[in-house]
Symmetry: C2
Subunit: 193 residues, 2 copies
């Protein structure tokens, strides 16, 4: 493999990511991933021991970029913390109007693997949500909100609720309603001290 090439492993994860996100874990075969990556299944199994490992790699690859996006939207928004939090929802609403959008990959995977609580992919999902929640807690504490732990959890609940409801109804306006609710809760927590 020449250094200019995209490493095979990375190509597999990219292909898996697209397919798993768009159709779901169980609906996508390992053969399909291999074909999308432009190689044979046997080569895929040279790089990954099992489909489960591939699923975990798919979600691992989404953790950091997802969080970074939230942080960018928050940082770039005008106004106070309530407006900055609302901006995350506004940006998500815009993303959700794209036809390729299919909700939150972490939550959808957790829903699909609900009968395997110890699955590595679920652990990755938990870690991701914890990182989002922890980051929110920190910025809200810094902004002077009362009980930032509770507030961060409530915002995460609204976020994940919006993911689920918008996916079901295919109506991105729910994302904005969730943003308004989050905004209300942030304002209440700011005036409570």
């Amino acid at each position: 493999m020449k250094p200019t090439d995209i490493p095979t492993r990375e190509r597999i994860v990219t292909a898996a990511s697209k397919l798993f996100y768009s159709a779901g874990i169980r609906a996508v075969s390992v053969d399909a991933v291999a074909e999308k990556a432009g190689l044979t299944k046997r080569t895929l199994y040279y790089h990954f021991a099992s489909k489960d490992e591939l699923i975990a790699a798919y979600l691992d690859g989404r953790d950091q970029p997802n969080l970074a996006l939230f942080q960018r939207w928050f940082a770039e928004a005008e106004g106070g913390p309530a407006e900055k939090v609302a901006a995350i929802f506004t940006n998500l609403a815009r993303a959700a109007r794209q036809p390729k959008w299919k909700g939150c990959g972490f939550l959808r995977t957790a829903a699909e693997l609900a009968d395997m609580p110890g699955h590595p992919a679920i652990k990755t999902g938990i870690a991701h949500k914890k990182r989002v929640e922890g980051w929110l807690r920190d910025v809200l504490a810094e902004a002077g909100a009362a009980s930032p732990e509770v507030l961060a959890r409530q915002i995460v609940l609204l976020l994940d609720g919006a993911f689920a409801v918008v996916l079901l109804n295919r109506d991105a306006s729910y994302m904005e309603t969730a943003g308004a609710a989050a905004s209300t809760l942030v304002k209440a927590a700011l005036s409570a001290r």
Copy 2:
């Protein structure tokens, strides 16, 4: 079939319901449903044209009982509307601590069938959530809350967020956090007029 027997069709739906809810749609084969119902796949296909039809029947059977449960919890709770709404979450938290609990069947099915927006099962899910939202809107309007439409949507968002988050983390305390947030929003809407 004697009148004392449970009708075959009903037995099939009951079996499908248990299996689909516990393991997910795609993880459960038609053979497995037939075996659980105590009959052959051929007989199952005598009563249902396809697996998709069976999936739809599974969710149809959950619509009415689920809503009735919410309504009972609301009606039996002490206190004002904020407390009654919170009671729904408290009762859900209790249910979520049971090991068999696997989140909301409608949302999990929607997540699994995210690439089939027109699927009958998804339509059933949309209708179910609309009924919950509509009922909440009516009782909140009657209680004198400001903008009951928005409030009902926000509560549904918290409900579905809690379903998703509790399922991921296997930590039912998120359900109570969501209840507290819903309570806060209801109180704000009651004092806003």
